[in-house]
Symmetry: C2
Amino acid sequence: MWDNFPYIKEELSAFEEYLESKLSSRIKFLDTASKNVVLSGGKRLRPAFTIIAALHGDYNRERVFPAAAAVEVLHTATLIHDDIIDNAKTRRGHLTISEKHNINLAVYTGDYLLTKALRLLLETGLEPDNLDILSRSVSLLCESEIDQYIGKYQVASLGRYLKRIIGKTGILFSATLMLGAKTANLSDSVTRIFGRFGTSFGAAFQIRDDLLDILSDQKTEGKPVLNDLREGIATLPVILSIRNNKALETQVNEIFNGEGDIKELVKHIISSGGVKDAERIKNKYINKCKKYLQSIPNTKFTAALEEIVDWL
Amino acid sequence: MWDNFPYIKEELSAFEEYLESKLSSRIKFLDTASKNVVLSGGKRLRPAFTIIAALHGDYNRERVFPAAAAVEVLHTATLIHDDIIDNAKTRRGHLTISEKHNINLAVYTGDYLLTKALRLLLETGLEPDNLDILSRSVSLLCESEIDQYIGKYQVASLGRYLKRIIGKTGILFSATLMLGAKTANLSDSVTRIFGRFGTSFGAAFQIRDDLLDILSDQKTEGKPVLNDLREGIATLPVILSIRNNKALETQVNEIFNGEGDIKELVKHIISSGGVKDAERIKNKYINKCKKYLQSIPNTKFTAALEEIVDWL
C-alpha cells in the first residue's frame, strides 16, 4: 500500500514513531498492553486518511499527528471493547486482551485508550466545535453498537442495517478525514465533502468486511470467518439473500439457535444472489466515493484516495 | 445536605434538570439506561464542588453546568465499568447494568457515557489546556484501577495504597473543583489550591468508604459490606492492622483464598487498631482540606465546603 505515494509512506512511517512515543504509561501492564495492541499492525487506514486530507491544505505535522493518533487510538480502544462483546479470541493474529488476560483488564485498557485518544485530540489545537467532530462520531458509534447488540439474533431491515454500519464504521472514517481537513485549515465545505467521502468509504469498507466473513478462508485471513452469523448478526449478504429467498430466514434462525449447517447456509446465501447484491451495494458506495473525490480541490495526493477506493 | 446554603441547593436543583435534558439518546435502551443510572440518586458531590468553586468567581451557568455534568456523567461511566470488575450486584439500591442486563451492555453504556462526558466538556468553552484537567484525571484513574486490579489478593504498602486512592478518587475530585474554578475565570494559583483541596478531600472520602465497608451494616448502607476483602482488596484499615500485628496477614490471605472467618478478621482489624489508625490518616487529610480552604478567597460559599469536610 502507498507504493505509488512515497511522501505519504514517509509521513506514515514518521507517524508510527510518533504513535509509539505517545503510548507510555507508568503502569507496566498498560504500557505493554497499549503498545502491543496499537502497534500490532493494522492497516493504519484512518491515520492515513487524516494525513492525506491534511495534505490537501496547510499541512502541519504538529497538528495532524495528534489528530491521526487520536483516531487510531480511539479505534483500537473500540476494538478492545468490541472483542469483549464479540467473544473474539484473536485480533490481527494475536490473542485479544480479553482472551489473553480477562474481560476486566480489557474494559480498563479500552477506557485508558479512550482517554488517551481524548488527550491526543486536545493536543491538535483545534477549536471545541471541531473536536466535537470526533466525540460525536464515538457517541454514534456506541449507539450503533448497542443497537446491533440488542438486535442480535434478528434479521434487520436493509435500512436499519445501513444506518448501523454508517454509525459503526462510516462516521468514524468521516471524522478521521474531517479532522485532517480541519487541522490543515480547509474550508467548511471542503471538510464536509471529505466527511461524506469518509461515510461512504466506511459503509463500503464494512460491507467488504461482511463479504470477507462469508467468503474468505480462515487460514488466509488470519481471523475467524462466519463469526458474524455465529454471534447472531445477520450481515448484508444474509439480509439480501433472505430478501431474494424468504425461505432462507428459517435456516438463518436455525444457525442463530445453534442448529443447522452453517456451510450449507453459506452456499444458499451465494446461490440466492445475497453476495452479488451486497457487492452491488458496496459498489454504489464506491461510486459515491469517487464522485466526492471529484468535488475536492485536486492535488497530487487525491489519487492516493482514489487508489484506496479501488482497493476496496 | 446544603440546608444552610439555599442558593447552592437552588443551583443543584436547576443542575438536575439540565443533567436530565442532556441524557437523551435515539437508542431507547441507552436513553433509559443512562437516565436510570445517572439520575438514580447519588450525592452529586462532584457537581456541587464544581458549582461551589465557580461561585468563588464569575459564575455563569452556561459554562458551569456543562462542566459539572461532564464530571458527574464521567463518574457514572466509571462506576458502571467498576461494577463489572467488582462483580457488584447493586448500586444506589438498584441492580447494576451488568447484573440487570449483562457485561456487554454495561461496557457499551459506560463507553457511551464517557463520550457524552467529553461532549459536555467541549460545551464549557474552556481552552484545551483546561479541558485536559479532566482527561488527565481519567487517565490517572484508569491507571490506578488497573494497578489495584493487578495487585488484587496482595496487601499493598501504605505508600502504594495512598497513591492508588489519590489516583482512583482524589484526582477526579481535584479536577471537579479546578474545572469549576476555571469556568469562573479564577487565577491559576487559586485553581491549584482548589485542586489540592479536591485531592485531599478525595483521599479522605475514599478512606471513609473503606471504613464504611468494614464497619457498616448492610441493611442501613444499602450496599454490600466487606466487599473489598471478598474481592481481594486490602483497604487502609486492613493494611494498617497488619502493620500493627504482622500475624493478621495470614488471616487476610486466608480470606483472599476463600477460607477463614471474615467476621472474626474484622474483629481483629478493629482490636489491632487498624480502624483507629485509618481514621487518624483520614483526619490528616481532613485537616489538609481545612488548611487549603483558608488559602482561597473567602466568600459566603466557602463555608459550604467546610461543612462538607466536616460531614466526612
